[in-house]
């Protein structure tokens, strides 16, 4: 783990908190007075990974900035389920402008704060994979290149869920979406492995790039906190599951995210100035089938009989990640 592990065997570093741990080593989410930046009453689906990831990240950012935070939000599920007139779930100053401009709006906010000498107030831009890797990509890249003082958080659920599960450039190979149906000779998405924005962000040599999942809260919170200690353009790519779009039971949201990491399909790491400085190792390596099977979007890979060639290709992708990022400790297997 990138963060300081807590030697506590009953629950290790993995539970949210523990009555026996000193408060400072518990997660922000364990705090009775956490900010609940994204409050109850939002209209996200049962078990929504994005709602969870957003509260995790923004609460952590609030904690790191003593609540001096402003957020710009791209159009998407998060925006729609959090702020339908006449109610908003946000407890922080928050603005939604357009689908493709969250990064630029945040740049504007940061510029305004700089002019006004409010260095204490920090700015976050957030959006889904559509608003980040597709339509908002230009603004995102511009924000990176100028090294604007903004933390951009992408909540990646690998498709356009708000509009009814259409394929985005973050949709993985073979996944079924409404625009990559599971029919024909090669069902599901046939566009390679998806656009990997964390690597593209690193190519901008911005001070901080990190990935995280909703399955490892401490790691996610550590990365948000670290990001808030740095000035300049920062990027956090959070893997969030979508029970509706992926077709898994709502209670499996965290488990599926955990499997994405444990298979190696979603590498969890952090990079400083374009160089990977730490990776979150795989604890119990599992084959990709374990990740694919619980999700209906991959059901066609197993019916009527397993499509070994396709599954093999996905496994190969996972193995490549494991080699590339050193996700498995030598000798641990």
């Amino acid at each position: 783990m990138a963060y300081q592990p807590v030697k506590f065997y009953q629950t290790g570093t993995f539970t949210v908190g523990n009555r026996l741990l000193p408060p400072e080593v518990r997660a922000v989410q364990a705090n009775m007075r956490r900010t609940n930046s994204l409050n109850s009453g939002h209209r996200a689906c049962q078990g929504c990974g994005e709602a969870l990831g957003a509260r995790y990240a923004i609460d952590a950012a609030m904690n790191a900035t003593s609540n001096q935070l402003i957020a710009a939000n791209a159009t998407g599920c998060l925006e729609v389920f959090s702020t339908p007139y006449p109610e908003t779930s946000w407890q922080i100053p928050w603005i939604h402008s357009l689908f493709g401009n969250a990064a630029a709006v945040a740049t504007g906010i940061a510029a305004a704060l700089k002019v006004k000498g409010r260095r204490d107030v920090r700015v976050i831009a957030q959006g889904g994979d559509g608003g980040t890797t597709d339509i908002g990509f230009g603004c995102l890249s511009g924000m990176f290149e100028r090294n604007d003082d903004v933390l951009y958080i992408c909540y990646d659920n690998e498709a356009y869920m708000n509009t009814g599960v259409q394929r985005s450039s973050a949709t993985p190979f073979a996944a079924r979406t409404a625009t990559t149906e599971a029919t024909g000779p090669d069902p599901g998405a046939t566009f390679g492995q998806g656009k990997y924005v964390p690597a593209i962000a690193m190519a901008h040599n911005i001070p901080y790039v990190a990935t995280a999942t909703i399955a490892e809260l401490h790691d996610l919170e550590y990365k948000v906190e670290r990001a808030m200690q740095i000035r300049g353009a920062r990027y956090l790519h959070v893997f969030v599951s979508c029970p509706l779009g992926w077709g898994h039971p709502s209670e499996d949201s965290i488990r599926v995210a955990r499997l994405a990491k444990e298979t190696g399909l979603f590498p969890v790491f952090e990079a400083i100035d374009g160089e990977v400085v730490s990776v979150s190792k795989i604890r119990r390596r599992v084959p990709v089938e374990e990740y694919l099977r619980p999700q209906r979007r991959f059901a066609h890979l197993f019916q009527p009989t397993p499509h070994l060639e396709v599954i093999g290709r996905i496994q190969a992708h996972a193995d490549r990640n494991i080699r590339k990022y050193g996700l498995v400790d030598a000798g641990s297997e």
Binding site: R43, G47, S253
Partner: protein, 541 residues
């Protein structure tokens, strides 16, 4: 500020939207029965006292432990810990070393001189306990705690029963036993040694006892007819082991053969080694798998140089040798004789074929039912004679210290009820906290800590304790390996993983509550609860 209509909204206003109405099933907190508790013959609340140990509060842990068992230091040494066999953690890495933590707590209590709370209110009833073994001491303890006046009549010269006269020193140092017995007596329990009761009813009348608990144990070694030469030296295990407590040690010679496959047989063989025997051989008619003795003890014995003749029965015992007949297991697993014989050099033969109960004191007591030499008791441990209860080795059961202690507690509680003219109803047990109810991801890897063991040379020559104890740090480590199966330990997972902030944290020690106004019933809290303390129940629609 004058906010533009509709496009600009006040913070947190979504609280007006009660998403709880979406729910089709709701999460509820529950407590499940952990396998360790379920598996403990002494009925200890193991997870309960481990929880205090995890927090480093050893005295609190000891006090919770001793609510059920007054002999933790003893049990921490001689118990065969079925709790560890049942422990869910065994399916992760290794079972939690419950027994070693129990011993640590017991020793800590002796070291620090912790005492039981003084008895406050008295019932004015008198109870006679016959026998100062595990059951008797346990019963006396619990009865005293309940406010009754207790008198123990022990036939022997010292308290402890089999703990003293059956279990060798190297497994249970006597000072430990003495300390824990003394602590029980300190509650005001009267102990009369060398007091053998011949006619129970008379004794009751004479002492004005309102109830009796019988726990005389089984001290008569079983004999079997083996053709033997006139000068063949044959002893029985019980008396041999008992004689170890006396002044002059028994003479066995250099070559000792022990006949039997129970723990007692091992105790004898290991003791013989320590007495200087060059050969200590166990003859057993079945295989190692079938052996009733505990494997850990067999391991230690083998390490110490004890030899075992498997699938063998003794046909003849001569002056300086015995004849052994080889057996084979039939398809049903029963040993059948072969025509193969073997002769072993032997200076003495010790029979460890089990023990019988001395029931002489029960003569003239009406209504008792004796089956295969043991006294039949009702589920509440009462014999056929009202007011006379029995437990331990003299009733049908597995004959271990732990079972005895358990009987003592159970009997005491029922005697208490009986004395108060009520009948005790056990609270229904919670559903079992099986491994499949857990989410083990959240427990980090931590293999069991091994207790130090004495080096072989000294084990073969002295009676020093073989197995050492844990020090404070690894006792804490071991305690913290507990998964708290089935019972919330306030890890905050449910509070953290709820996408709708629908879990209310009530504060230290107060656990959590659900806010059903917002809970959408996604079930994440159930899936991510490490210890299986939440379940989903369907909503009535």
């Amino acid at each position: 500020m004058r906010k533009p209509f509709a496009i600009t909204l006040d913070p947190g206003s979504s609280l007006a939207n009660h998403t709880g109405t979406w729910r089709t099933s709701r999460p509820v907190y529950l407590d499940r029965l952990p396998p360790c508790n379920a598996g403990c013959p002494a009925g200890e609340n193991i997870q309960g006292w481990l929880a205090h140990a995890e927090a480093g509060d050893y005295e609190a842990a000891w006090r919770v432990l001793t609510l059920d068992n007054p002999l933790p230091a003893v049990m921490g040494r001689v118990c065969y810990h079925p709790c560890e066999t049942a422990c869910n953690r065994a399916q992760l890495d290794e079972a939690v070393g419950i027994n070693s933590v129990e011993r640590f707590l017991g020793d800590e209590a002796i070291r620090r001189g912790w005492r039981f709370d003084a008895i406050t209110e008295r019932s004015g009833k008198r109870v006679l306990v016959v026998g100062a073994g595990p059951s008797g001491l346990s019963a006396a303890f619990h009865l005293a705690r309940a406010g009754h006046e207790v008198e123990i009549h022990e036939a022997g010269p010292l308290a402890g029963g089999m703990m003293r006269f059956g279990i060798p020193k190297y497994r249970l140092p006597r000072d430990v036993l003495d300390a824990e017995v003394a602590r029980i007596l300190a509650l005001g329990v009267t102990l009369r040694l060398n007091t053998k009761i011949d006619r129970l009813l008379d004794a009751m009348k004479a002492g004005h006892f309102d109830a009796v608990f019988l726990a005389v144990g089984a001290h008569i070694g079983k004999r079997t007819t083996i053709p033997a030469g006139a000068s063949a030296r044959i002893l029985d295990a019980v008396s041999f082991l008992r004689s170890m407590e006396g002044e002059d040690r028994p003479m066995l010679g250099r070559r000792v053969v022990v006949y039997g496959g129970g723990n007692t047989a091992l105790d004898v063989a290991r003791t013989a080694k320590r007495l200087g025997a060059t050969e200590s051989i166990i003859v057993y008619r079945r295989t190692r798998e079938k052996m009733p003795a505990h494997d850990s003890e067999l391991e230690e014995a083998l390490q110490e140089g004890v030899l075992v003749k498997w699938l063998s029965t003794i046909r003849h015992a001569g002056d300086s040798s015995i004849t052994v007949q080889k057996m084979v297991l039939d398809e049903k697993g029963f040993p059948q004789p072969t025509e193969e014989y073997e002769t072993l050099e032997a200076d003495s033969l010790v029979l460890a074929l089990g023990q019988d109960v001395d029931l002489s004191l029960l003569e003239g007591v009406p209504g008792l039912e004796i089956i295969d030499g043991v006294v039949k008791v009702a589920p509440n441990m009462m014999t056929g004679y009202p007011g006379i209860f029995a437990g331990g080795d003299m009733v049908p059961s597995e004959r271990t210290v732990t079972v005895g202690v358990g009987h003592g507690k159970k009997a005491a509680r029922n005697i208490d009820a009986w004395l108060r003219g009520t009948t005790r109803v056990d609270t229904p047990k919670h559903e079992a906290a099986t491994f499949d109810k857990l989410n083990p991801w959240y427990y980090s890897d931590a293999p069991k800590t091994m207790r130090p063991t004495l080096d072989l040379l000294r084990r073969q020559s002295t009676f020093e304790e073989v197995v050492g104890g844990l020090d404070e740090t690894n006792a804490l480590f071991e305690a913290r390996r507990c998964l708290s199966c089935g019972n919330c330990f306030e890890c905050d997972n449910c509070y953290g993983v709820c996408p709708d902030n629908a879990v209310i944290k009530l504060g230290p020690g107060k656990r959590f509550a659900f806010n059903y106004d917002y809970c959408k019933g996604c079930g994440l809290c159930v899936a991510e609860c490490p210890c299986g303390a939440i379940k989903m129940v369907p909503e009535e629609i």
